[in-house]
């Protein structure tokens, strides 16, 4: 009788292109350019609409800061942000390691 259904229990909090652009203070066309450069993470639904995770607001702010303060070209920023992420990941890993952590058994 009953048809098996599955619903997500909570709707993920996501931003549409327009609200994302408004929150970030940039024009939606600029957001599209950033997307084409692979600078932002985005999900596309079946209708072709774009949805942004709220963390991407900070990501865009960093892109704008680097672009304006250091005059880096947008096309270079993908590499720069990737490398900055890698550096901070390594720095975190290094901080977590005990300084004189006994000899390692290999």
């Amino acid at each position: 009788m009953s048809t098996p259904t599955s619903y997500a229990l909570g709707r993920p909090y996501r931003l549409s292109l327009d609200s994302y652009a408004r929150l970030s203070g940039v024009h939606p066309d600029l957001v599209r350019r950033f997307l084409a450069l692979g600078l932002l993470e985005v999900t596309k639904d079946s209708r072709g609409d774009l949805w942004f995770d709220p963390t991407q607001v900070r990501a865009l702010a960093r892109i704008q800061r680097l672009h304006l303060d250091l005059r880096l070209a947008y096309s270079a920023l993908g590499l720069v942000t990737d490398l900055l992420d890698r550096v901070s990941e390594l720095e975190n890993a290094q901080r977590r390691q005990p300084r004189e952590g006994g000899p390692r058994w290999t």
Binding site: D29, G38, T106
Partner: protein, 321 residues
Amino acid sequence: MARDFYDALGVSRDADRSDIQRAYRKLARTHHPDVNKEPGAEERFKEISEAYDVLSDPEQRTRYDAFGEDFRRVSPDVDPAQYRQSRARAGAGAGPAGGGSRWSGGSAGGGVPFDMGDDVDLEDLLGGIFGGGGRRRAGWGPIPGSDVEAEVEVSVEDAYRGTHRSLTIDAPGGPRTLEVDIPAGVVDGQRIRLRGQGSSGSGGADAGDLYLIARIAPHPRYRVTGRDVHTRLPLAPWEAALGAQVRIDTPGGPATVTVPAGTSSGRRLRLRGRGLPNPRGKPGDLYAEAQIKVPSSLSEKEERLFEELRSVSTFDPRSAP
């Protein structure tokens, strides 16, 4: 190239230009040989670049969709109008197949094309580092290839004696096999340079170097720090108390350690020069850490003797500082 261009970029066949460009940008910057030191990265980067060169150009993409892998060999007569257009575009500018300066914004059909501002140079940084990859760069001289790193794991015994390895690495011309001598006394993290085995240079320039990074494999008995080798030395209580000559395995073969009387667990006995050899100087030392073991079950006589020892001895291991 054998791989499907859409697969190479990880996009579906109905992806729009924006999707294709996004996928290309992200893949290119993670697989560029100056960013990614793995030996297969150059190969992958070229594959991505070639796929993007074709798929970013609407005419070439149409031909690729229609004719598949051999689309370049299909006679122009098959679709003359389209072919003429793609020729005209290819000859028009220095950009990647004419796809550099205009962008269609948004999803299929919905966006308005716009020109890029002057501050965005699409061909900077990642574009066409290599020669024969289908991208042309006018005005640049020969550019040497980047260096590549690969890890090679050696056992403690092989690090002691030196060893020979044959390694297969992915290269743009197909997998290449290298015969490598790993010298005796290699330490963890040491880089072995193989000149000219890295990424190929463009315009006749030299190839980069391949660095092999030695990793000492985990070993059940030995632990290696630098050239020093640490191992455990299990002792019977009477050997530890009375002193003994004990045979011990070292990476270079068996050796004899003199255990002084009154050795407690944790004491490290050094065998000078019995660690990993050093081609330029003093070899490392071997440290054997005493570990007192007791039998898990005692015979009647052993038990009696231990009980006698308990009644006679005044030793209190917990009173000592």
